[in-house]
């Protein structure tokens, strides 16, 4: 039973994710202005390592919803920036465990602050109740398609 809730004029934004593009651009701009010199994608990897340091690349794939080549290259670039280190696992030599460097730890507080600030800019004029529902919908969409 197709619900066809979308008129053509409304389909576009939802499909193309204009809102999340806008959020990503603003966050990148806020990072840049504050002198935080990393990309949003690099930040998304650091974000999960700040929650739990020493994840495998495979775990980072699942956490960040990215494929293996993407994580390989993000870790490459984060290593070049000296923000993470690859450490071969002793139990299983296929696995790289990824660890934060002290420099990366320094970025945590400021960048999380900037992320929160960016979300507040994004959600200006939106009520908490509306945000709750939007989050539920987006979570459900993700669960439906992942």
């Amino acid at each position: 039973m197709p619900n066809n809730q979308f008129k053509k004029s409304e389909l576009y934004s939802f499909i193309t994710g204009k809102a999340s593009t806008a959020i990503a651009r603003r966050l990148q701009k806020n990072f840049k202005q504050a002198g935080v010199d990393i990309t949003i994608e690099q930040w998304s990897v650091l974000y999960h390592l700040w929650k739990e340091d020493g994840m495998s690349q495979q775990q980072l794939c699942e956490a960040t919803f990215r494929d293996k080549p993407s994580i390989t290259r993000l870790v490459d670039n984060l290593e070049k920036l000296k923000l993470v280190k690859r450490v071969a696992s002793k139990d299983d030599r296929r696995i790289n465990m990824i660890y934060l460097t002290p420099e990366a730890s320094k970025l945590q507080e400021q960048s999380m602050e900037l992320a929160n600030q960016t979300l507040n800019e994004a959600l200006e004029g939106v009520t908490n109740g509306q945000v709750e529902i939007a989050k539920e919908v987006l979570q459900r969409v993700y669960e439906n398609l992942k």
Copy 2:
């Protein structure tokens, strides 16, 4: 007055747009399965030309929320695929008007059907009322940041 509606554990999905990434991947997969051999980004340009054929690249920038270099290259690739043609404007020689070819017109019905189908897959189990609110929130986010 910061609303700080996001606990840390919830901030990530919203910022990184996991839901719209999931939608884009599923739409791309549905295109591929159906033999529609274009990227989602190319489709997003065609989408606006189907609504109004003969837009300038600048108009396409605004409609698709992309910058000028992105549109230059998307139009390059769509031209290689023989789906659009650049036609120099006679009024203003700086402007390229972009026109659909007959081959592009053939893609319209099927691809729009696939887009609607993809949205129905995405929104399975979500009520119309919730979708309405989510759309409002995302529209407001876009307006706040664009």
